[in-house]
């Protein structure tokens, strides 16, 4: 699955995009974030406050407890500050 990172999440993770094979146990964005945090200190840092992370599945906002399903892309980013 294509995973995208934006803003300071991207900077801390150190990449804008990666292709990942998710374990079967990951069925929500919250679980994805929890699993990502086990992948190293850069992920630990990016997701140190997991509750503030926003999630989009195929470019549509979803809650962290939404079913992950089988999207083409999932994006993780900080609260938005545009406008």
């Amino acid at each position: 699955m294509k995973v995208l990172y934006f803003a300071w999440v991207r900077e801390r993770v150190g990449t804008a995009e990666e292709d990942l094979d998710l374990p079967e146990t990951v069925s929500t964005p919250a679980e994805l974030i929890g699993w990502l945090k086990t992948r190293g200190p850069e992920f630990e840092s990016a997701f140190e406050r997991p509750e503030i992370i926003r999630v989009a599945l195929d470019q549509v906002h979803v809650e962290q407890d939404a079913p992950l399903g089988n999207p083409r892309e999932i994006a993780l980013f900080p609260p938005m500050t545009g406008g």
């Binding site: 803003a7 906002h61 609260p79 938005m80």
Partner: protein, 166 residues
């Protein structure tokens, strides 16, 4: 980089007002965007524009850098515009949001709403801005004049409160 502007009317939709959404690096021309919504339509009584500008934060800011999520930015703004079109009798909506580096005093965002009645044009303009702030995938980073570390702008809780009014 400029996204192709969306089609100016939704195909198949009866009486759907023209909608123009553009995510672009270049500056925009407020006058021609306002004129576009009035043009050749003598049934428009009220046009409200909102221009969001880069403040200099007391002279300390060198520039803002706006990151965005291409594709989702256009999609999410389209959804916000459709919500506004469903709530108010609008005769046209334009939303332009810039990305990239913007100096103090520069334009960041433009929202123009047109309606036969001023209340609808004002309310829809404010609604669009409140939801652009909290739902459109853009992030601002501040570059300081003194060369100190750049910082990501923190989301303001008053923006969430503004969006929750609607």
């Amino acid at each position: 980089m400029t996204s192709a502007p969306h089609a100016s009317a939704r195909p198949g939709a009866v009486n759907h007002p023209p909608v123009r959404i553009s995510i672009q690096a270049e500056d925009f021309d407020i006058a021609s965007e306002i004129a576009r919504l009035g043009e050749g339509r003598a049934d428009v009584g009220a046009v409200v524009s909102f221009t969001g500008l880069c403040r200099d934060e007391g002279g300390t800011l060198e520039a803002l850098e706006l990151e965005h999520y291409p594709g989702m930015a256009e999609g999410e703004i389209s959804r916000i515009v459709e919500d506004a079109v469903a709530r108010w009798p609008l005769s046209g909506v334009t939303v332009i949001h810039r990305h990239g580096r913007i100096a103090p005093g520069g334009n960041i965002v433009l929202v123009v709403t047109a309606s036969a009645h001023r209340g609808a044009a004002f309310a829809a303009g404010e609604f669009l801005m409140d939801f652009l702030k909290t739902r459109a995938p853009f992030w601002k980073k501040e570059h300081r004049r003194d060369g100190t570390a750049t910082e990501w702008v923190e989301a303001a809780s008053r923006d969430d409160a503004a969006a929750e009014r609607w």
